[in-house]
Symmetry: C2
Subunit: 581 residues, 2 copies
């Protein structure tokens, strides 16, 4: 039914292009006033109201540069998965819109302060294209290491960071005295423009580091065992992910084309409970002079369905993964009756992202093996608050269901195509794949500090649903990955699922790895556990490199590791080989 609707919508859109004189077009320029130079948000609100009023087909931005600020923006409290809930301001807030294209016309959107660029909610058939997004002050902070000593670094920061030291603790503000809190530090290599070799996160649990200004103008920051290479960039991670660039919630049909996200305070694109998403020539990349692009994942898709495509995209230097496609698990915190459970969230990034609907089929999963016990149909739901739902099923719970088991929907699995994308320079991993739909990862380039492709999913820590069923990894280049923190992965392609009892678990299924090129200084090509069905064909090429920048010093030395896997075929000379330093 949904498919049919989208087909009709697409057909209508195609016809509309064919008869473009019939398009109802709104021009943002018509709503701009003399105040718009400082803040175009009121004009954007007015233009979107006009779009709704006339049921417009297109909103055209004026080109050039637009400044946008939070003061006059739409406000709403949002629970956005894997970002931070808060009362947010939103520049372009599309709610209940069908069949609108926003043509940026090359406009550079320059935001100031805590504001989310785009929110698309309960919409269908939306296209946004031809624009870029940046902020006058980044949500993270960057400084150059100019000196070092035991437990300290001497840093040079941009003058406009407006630094001071209340109570002897470093504070970053912008020229308007807005504070930009930070919660971690991570060293990036200035020349390679990527996380420094084997650098790891310094977590700042109190959101501050003791610091003082030196007579030479540098800032000395103190932290136990703090060290870095002089000349490198220390990145102070933004405390929270308040302002993703594009938030999709219950959207059917979304296209993002020729859009560049230089910066945003959260993820680049976060889709939840949405279907049929296409990202084409979307770039997440920092501008000249900065190291970091988005402060979190470039893209992330949670409980999405339909067809999810990322084509010819560039995801680089974001502060977390390139993408993560998964579902949500709620935990059975209490069995209230034979047919009734109290479901709770245990990952604060998921609080309030209600996904269970009346009539939905859910799988009930053993949190220790991550294997599905059975499915049930939801009869009714009572939401207590952002933490808890009481859910009654149409039948009693399956035998063996226990508290701490987890529940996910059984029908939010996108087909995935990722093709021609380039991923590099970011913190952590490349792509995390957790859909049960068919997934094809083809002709991409990975130069990733951790695992390039990771199969995650667990019911005890992150509570992210995974369990691949049909994954093709074909024709990609994996170049010198796994140079970052050892916590970011165990091979180019690996499983990282939290499965306490692996013996009985075959959580992932059917992974085919064909015709890829692995140029590696680190011999860890595949590291799988709990997978049923793996083929690594002999058209995969493994080239051993010896780059000056990285050195493999670790104790692991197998190219391929399979633990608790069935039906594994590795048709390659190195299948059983050991690495010799």
């Amino acid at each position: 039914m949904k498919r049919f609707f989208l087909f009709v919508a697409t057909l209508a859109a195609a016809l509309a292009v064919g008869c473009s004189t019939a398009d109802k077009v709104v021009y943002l320029a018509d709503f701009m006033t003399e105040d718009s130079a400082r803040d175009a948000v009121p004009a954007v609100r007015a233009a979107l109201e006009e779009c709704a009023r006339i049921d417009a087909d297109r909103l055209v931005l004026p080109g050039g540069e637009l400044r946008l600020r939070p003061e006059m923006a739409t406000e709403k409290y949002q629970f956005i998965s894997n970002n931070n809930e808060s009362l947010k301001r939103i520049a372009f807030d599309l709610v209940g819109v069908e069949g609108l294209e926003i043509d940026g016309n090359g406009t550079a959107l320059i935001f100031t302060g805590f504001i989310s660029p785009f929110n698309v909610e309960n919409c269908a058939n939306i296209t946004i294209k031809n624009l870029s997004i940046d902020f006058t002050r980044t949500f993270h902070s960057e400084g150059i290491v100019r000196g070092k000593g035991k437990d300290y670094l001497d840093m040079e920061f941009p003058a406009d960071y407006n630094i001071d030291f209340p109570n002897g603790v470093l504070r970053f503000r912008d020229s308007e005295w807005t504070t930009y809190q930070y919660s971690s530090m991570l060293e990036f290599d200035s020349k390679l423009r990527e996380p420094a070799f084997r650098a790891y996160d310094y977590w700042l649990w109190n959101y501050g580091v003791p610091a003082e200004k030196l007579p030479n103008g540098l800032v000395r920051i103190h932290h136990k065992d703090l060290t870095a290479t002089i000349g490198n960039v220390m990145v102070f991670g933004a405390r929270a992910r308040y302002n993703p660039a594009f938030t999709l919630y219950k959207v059917d049909g979304f296209t993002l084309q020729d859009v560049t996200i230089y910066h945003t305070g959260g993820m680049g694109v976060i889709g939840q409970l949405s279907h049929d998403i296409l990202l084409e020539r979307v770039k997440v990349t920092p501008p000249e002079g900065r190291m970091i692009s988005a402060t979190a994942d470039a893209t992330h898709f949670v409980n999405c369905g339909g067809y999810l495509q990322m084509i010819d995209c560039l995801f680089e230097n974001q502060k977390d993964d390139a993408t993560n496609i998964h579902g949500l698990y709620m935990s059975i915190d209490k069995i209230l009756a034979p047919d009734k459970v109290l479901l709770g969230w245990h990952n604060s990034g998921q609080f309030g992202v209600d996904f269970i609907e009346e009539g939905a089929t859910v799988e009930i999963v053993d949190n220790k093996t991550m294997m599905t016990i059975d499915t049930r149909t939801v009869k009714s739901i009572k939401r207590l608050n952002k933490l808890y739902n009481e859910v009654t099923f149409t039948e009693p719970l399956p035998e063996g269901t226990a508290e701490k088991n987890v529940v996910a929907t059984d029908d939010y699995y996108p087909e995935v195509l990722m093709k021609g994308c380039r991923m590099r320079g970011n913190r952590a991993r490349g792509i995390l794949l957790g859909s049960r739909g068919s997934m094809r990862i083809e002709d991409n380039y990975f130069h990733i500090a951790g695992a390039a492709i990771l199969l995650e999913g667990d019911g005890n820590y992150w509570y992210e649903q995974s369990g691949t069923r049909d994954l093709l990894i074909k024709g990609n280049v994996f170049e010198n990955g796994n140079f970052g923190s050892r916590t970011w992965g165990s091979a180019c392609i690996s499983v990282g699922s939290g499965i306490p009892e692996r013996e009985q678990s075959r959580y992932h299924q059917n992974v085919r790895i064909e015709g890829n090129t692995f140029r590696v200084f680190d011999p860890r090509i595949v590291n799988f556990y709990c997978v049923d069905g793996v083929s690594f064909t002999n058209d995969n090429v493994i080239e051993l490199t010896q780059p000056a920048e990285y050195k493999y010093l670790d104790n692991e030395y197998r190219y391929f590791v399979f633990d608790h896997c069935d039906n594994v075929t590795v048709d390659h000379p190195l299948a059983e080989a050991r690495w010799e330093k």
Copy 2:
């Protein structure tokens, strides 16, 4: 009309008491399960649902001790004036209820974590009585000063504060690892159980102090110029006021009787946009072993009307004033048309407290003199977000209206009676009076660190509407006040309004001071400016004390100061006298 409604409601309630067998009574005990011992909140929710279902007259608590926790509680985002907006959990959430009495039956409500005890919203004729409120872990923190040196103190904290020092900064948590942030330090006198003589707030803008654990088990905290008397208590003020004990919003008729608030994370009672409130024998007081009661004002009333009474109450050792009764000013940030303005909030404690309604009469006020220019009637309102409203009037703005002028409603003025109340031991001031209704302050006892009675109000900083019209201060005892920070007042009874241009301003009117006793070591009895009509009759007694604890060392030496006042009569021998040390 409202008056009539309340009369009828009161009559109905009286009849109901007369025929109590007809009362519909719900007993909380009937909804309690074995889990209620750990957390009675689900039982409270169920009991309140039952009250709504049967339109109950009374809800009776079981007596003894009840534990209440946030996990399963009702949730809503609240803008509560002079407290902190947030997504809150609420234990007793009364919405749209008419004619309910909650009889605590002597129950001690013991809360854990970030939860608001009572929220009463869009209700009429509600009574809550016979209960007490405390928390297992206070929102502020207290420690005893055991040692001192240049720029540091050595502190002893309770063991259950669960202290650690991430990045060398002091952190307080409870036994469940919930963090309790702090933003200030203030020294309290252990023997006198009040703010230490002339102690002032150390503001901690970064919400932390550098600290470390000493070998002797004490905690050394560092801050420039930090000092205190050994044996005194240093209070770490809670960072935010998230959880008032009683929040009233659009309530008509509210009675709180025989209720003790030992602690809460915000104000004790905060009423906004409500009418006819009675507090009788309400105590805000710390339990044995703690210095601080509520972390902010004991009571506070914003844009309230009808008759506001506080009778035989005790307000002591709260972290801010005993009460503050005022209206709200929004600022004219932009004149959009002859009849249309953009109104903005500029005090973050007022964000989102929308008070302007269609059809309301508002006064338009010169922010420099605080004098009313004229009134206008509101034709329409468009809320942009928590910061801004666009307001159109039925007529053009009065001549002379300028941007930065302020706007308040012209009809939210309670009559006030405060009688038989005892106020002492708290930070800052006693009572701030900003209603234009008739106010009688009779037979109270004040021993206050700053001014006992303060007439505030301004349109440039706090944006709190005041302008007294009829104030009687009679039969009170003012005992050795003004011993705290010099910023908390300039006399026992004083004006503290922010009025940039005083020459033309007579912001306050008609203050009569009769039959009071002033026992003072500090000669500052009255310090007024911009008042028209003052009488200080000769039945007021001024006794000069020479307590060992306090010493008046300052340069001011007039008992009575009147600046830009008219019609002043001081019938007292010390009227023109100067203080001789």
